[in-house]
């Protein structure tokens, strides 16, 4: 059993990607039923993970790995402990319902296949993230969730708002991704391991190091951006531009919970310090209240839910920050409760939108008669959100109060924040449950009727899970909470959930206070909304506008830099190139003393007497003369065409010199290059319709002439210098000796190009082709502008 189970874990993490590849095909074949078929993938993963639950509950950790980059000792390692199991089961379970729901929600949409493929790829990234053991794999999947969520949020890419939401989410979460990468690398350097399962055992290695602050800041940066903590929360409501199934999945159990998962995972090695507690509790608390108030400000169902998600994320971060046994237990129960009720509520919102045509709670009412099943789903979820007994939300609330009761005054402040936050959320839950469904029926854009089965399965099942888990606290405590908390805290945790109303304990009174306040909030929801709206208008700006300003500034900065460097004046580009060449040639010679090698020294005496003409045969002199003549002709030529041709003569003479002195390869290439440059220069000249003659003002003439002389002298001096030094023949000896025996070729030049340094050549030919494409693009643009007369 052991080995096969291990392999199945790897398969579970990678299967969604395979399924995503096949999705377009499945969709083409199955059409309207593709949602039902594809939902089998996450359902199968859920079953496999359930199979792993037994060993994990009894305290085992299941691990599996496949080779990745063996030469660096990197493996694509996965492991399942209590924490990853809770997250993975939630992802796969809700994923099944979401895929099913998407199939019905996007019925008839022409890009439904694409959507389902994105969805599965996203789910695979998320599963990989929570199952990854290797920290680099964690980072890779982390980034994969950013990219796939970008595709999902921007799915409706014809709308500007959807594109903006997608880009915003990508930018913000990628900042966190970079933080995570650096953090992971530092953590590996400090601990010497890439594996989270090994890192867990090295408790002090990060906490006691001098880099603790930096590592902590990086991991918190990653988690806060992903999990939308204040003040980086603003991307989450804008991501609501996505189709509703996306919101239901991303903002209940997956994307935004990645940060929570990371914090929980790093608790043993980073947590427990005063900085950790202070930062997480403070930011989490502010986020909780901010999100809950934000929810009350909105009237769009999806926006309300998005804001409550921010609040819940704040709550989870706060609980992780507190870090006590009860707080961690509360965090886990709350995570499960939240994932179930939030996914259910989003699906309800989608169903209402789909069937009634609007999501505005002020325009909805009395839908319970027309959509009774949807209403039941909404009610089950909302009751869990309020935290009534018999739902899993009740235990979440009890646990978190238990974690704080009886602490010092700081704990009491945190407790007050929790009670207020929960009360606000309870009020919002009542608004969501009652406003659209009860009261007088209002006319809606579409005549509302019940949604299809595939869209109802999610809310009803998730609501049911919320209640069943609430009725069976022993199961919840023993099978969910204890393994998870043990994995986070590193020591065995005993479950203590009981379904008993103990009137003597303060917890029940705190819960009652929460409910009471929740009802007040619900009654006053209208007034609160009015006040909050006035406040936000009065403030005038928010994180969203700041983001826009920063992005706009970035674009303007880029434009300025581009204008500075890329001014479009070819003449100045060339001057810059040749000035750089001259500096590169002369700086080593003058500043580093290279010139001293060839300057005549005193011992040499009268060096002019030693000058002898080179020993050349007459025809060799003839070739040299040809080269000089070509050069002179270039300089004195009256017309451009003659200058180009003379340049060709000079180059051909050079090729002949190469040929005479034993470099036939070089000569060959030089000759072909000369031919082609003459042809291309001529065509360019005629195409650009340049004047036949080259007139330039004196200052241009002087500048160009000086540059030419300086660069020419530089190259000549450099060549003299090189020839003056001792020739190191180790490389050429190696090539001469090995070219035939190991590379099977007698032409060393060619063998070097295609074999010894073939990888360089591969890069070079790619550059050649890239340059060709760029040249064609330039030519095409010029012709287009000519054609339009611009």
């Amino acid at each position: 059993m052991g080995l096969s189970l291990d392999a199945s874990i790897v398969l579970a993490a990678l299967a969604p990607f395979l399924a995503a590849l096949l999705t377009p095909l499945v969709h083409r074949l199955a059409g309207a039923y593709s949602g039902w078929i594809l939902a089998l993938v996450p359902a199968g993963i859920f079953a496999v993970l359930l199979g792993a639950a037994g060993p994990v509950i009894s305290g085992e950790t299941i691990a599996a790995a496949i080779g990745w980059v063996p030469s660096y000792g990197l493996t694509l390692a996965f492991f399942v402990d209590g924490l990853s199991l809770i997250f993975a089961l939630t992802i796969a379970g809700i994923g099944t319902l979401i895929v099913l729901y998407s199939g019905a929600y996007l019925r008839g949409h022409k890009h439904k296949g694409r959507f389902l493929a994105y969805m599965l790829a996203f789910m695979g990234s998320m599963l990989g993230l929570v199952l990854a053991d290797n920290m680099l794999a964690l980072f890779m999947f982390w980034e994969a969730t950013s990219i796939t969520s970008f595709l999902l949020i921007g799915f409706d890419h014809n709308r500007q708002a959807a594109r903006r939401g997608a880009i915003q989410a990508l930018v913000i979460t990628n900042i966190g991704g970079m933080c995570l990468l650096v953090g992971v690398i530092i953590a590996q350097h400090l601990s010497g391991t890439w594996l989270l399962s090994e890192l867990r055992g090295l408790e002090g290695v990060l906490k006691d190091s001098a880099f603790y602050g930096l590592v902590l800041a990086l991991f918190i940066g990653a988690a806060f951006t992903k999990s939308a903590q204040f003040p980086l929360h603003f991307w989450l409501p804008n991501a609501m531009e996505a189709p509703t199934p996306v919101s239901a999945f991303l903002h209940s159990a997956t994307m935004v919970q990645a940060g929570v998962y990371l914090l929980a995972r790093m608790t043993p090695v980073l947590g427990g310090t005063s900085v950790w507690t202070a930062v997480l509790v403070a930011f989490g608390g502010v986020t909780l209240i901010w999100g809950a108030l934000g929810a009350l400000k909105e009237t769009d169902l999806k926006q309300i839910l998005a804001q409550t998600t921010i609040a819940s994320l704040g709550l989870l971060v706060m609980l992780i920050g507190l870090g006590s046994e009860a707080a961690i237990a509360a965090m886990l129960v709350y995570f499960v409760a939240h994932a179930c009720y939030k996914a259910g509520l989003f699906m309800v919102a989608g169903a209402v939108d789909h069937e009634a045509g609007t999501r505005d709670i002020t325009a909805l009412g009395g839908l319970a008669d027309k959509m009774p099943v949807t209403f039941i789903g909404a009610a089950l979820a909302a009751l869990s959100m309020i935290g009534l007994p018999l739902t899993v939300g009740y235990f979440a609330k009890e646990e978190m109060y238990l974690a704080l009761v009886g602490g010092d005054w700081l704990m009491l402040v945190a407790l007050a924040v929790l009670v207020i936050g929960n009360a606000l959320l309870a009020g919002v839950a009542l608004v969501i449950m009652i406003r659209p469904f009860l009261g007088d029926a209002l006319p809606t854009p579409k005549s509302a009727h019940e949604a299809p089965v595939a869209m109802l399965a999610g809310p009803i099942l998730l609501g049911g899970v919320g209640v069943v888990a609430g009725i069976l606290p022993d199961w919840l405590g023993h099978d969910v909470l204890a393994p998870g908390a043990t994995a986070i805290l590193g020591h065995a945790v005993e479950p203590h959930l009981k379904l008993a109303l103990d009137l003597a304990s303060p917890l029940i009174w705190l819960s009652a206070l929460t409910w009471l306040l929740g009802i007040v909030v619900f009654r006053q929801a209208h007034a609160i909304r009015a006040v909050l709206r006035r406040l936000s208008v009065g403030l005038g700006w928010n994180a969203d506008t700041v983001f826009d300003a920063v992005m706009f500034g970035l674009i303007r900065f880029a434009a300025t830099v581009t204008r500075l460097l890329h001014h479009g004046k070819l003449e100045f580009y060339l001057v810059l190139v040749f000035v750089s060449l001259a500096v590169a040639l002369f700086w080593p010679m003058l500043a580093l003393g290279g010139l001293n090698w060839i300057v005549p020294t005193a011992e040499l005496g009268d060096w002019s007497k030693r000058l002898v003409p080179p020993d050349l045969r007459p025809y060799e002199w003839g070739v040299v003369l040809l080269a000089v003549l070509g050069l002179v002709a270039v300089l004195i030529a009256q017309s451009r065409l003659i200058a180009i041709l003379s340049l060709g003569i000079q180059g051909t003479a050079l090729a002949l010199i190469f040929l005479l002195f034993g470099a036939p390869d070089l000569a060959f290439t030089q000759l072909m290059v000369e031919v082609l440059s003459v042809v291309i220069l001529t065509i360019v000249m005629t195409n650009l319709r340049l004047d036949a003659r080259d007139h330039r003002p004196f200052e241009d003439w002087a500048r160009d002439g000086t540059l030419a002389v300086v660069c020419g002298a530089g190259v000549s001096l450099l060549l003299m210098l090189v020839l003056n030094g001792p020739l190191d023949t180790r490389l050429s000896d190696f090539f001469t000796a090995t070219s035939v025996p190991i590379a099977h070729g007698a032409n060393i030049v060619n063998v070097i190009l295609v074999d010894y340094r073939g990888f360089d050549t591969l890069g070079e030919i790619s550059v050649v082709m890239g340059a060709g494409i760029a040249i064609l693009a330039l030519l095409r643009r010029r012709k287009k502008t000519e054609a339009t007369g611009l």
Binding site: P664, D665, F668, T669, M672, V673, V675, L676, V679, I680, I683, V684, N687, A743, H744, G745, A746, N747, V749, N750, V751, L753, V754, D755, G758, F759, T761, L762, I765, S766, V768, M769, A771, G772, I773, I775, L776, L779, R780, K783, E786, A787
Partner: protein
Amino acid sequence: MNTIIFRTAAPLIVATMLVFSVYVCLRGHNEPGGGFIGGLIAAASIAVFGMASGVPAVRRALKVDPLAIAGFGVLLAGFSGLLSLFIEAPFMTSIWLYLDLGETVVPLSTPMFFDIGVYFVVFGTLSAIALALESDEEEDL
């Protein structure tokens, strides 16, 4: 430039140059030559052809877009390197196969295919540029 002599002689010159370019490319491993030079010769022949017969005629004769030839070259060169993965050797380790045809032995090798890839890249890219420059304004590139 469009004299009748040039136009009559051009196809002959082009054909000779093309054959010669292949010869130069293939002999490159042991004698002066190679894919780069061969590609240059072939591109020069295309430029000559374009001048003599006009760009549309050349494009018709080539059948495929010259840039596609260049892309094929990069692909061929890259794949020739990938072949070594099948013998569990690092990327671009050369593999040699001596085909014994009775009278003569033909050596086939991955560097040869690599060199042919280089030939196509140089040939395709430079031909594309030359043809784009030679073509008239009205012609769509």
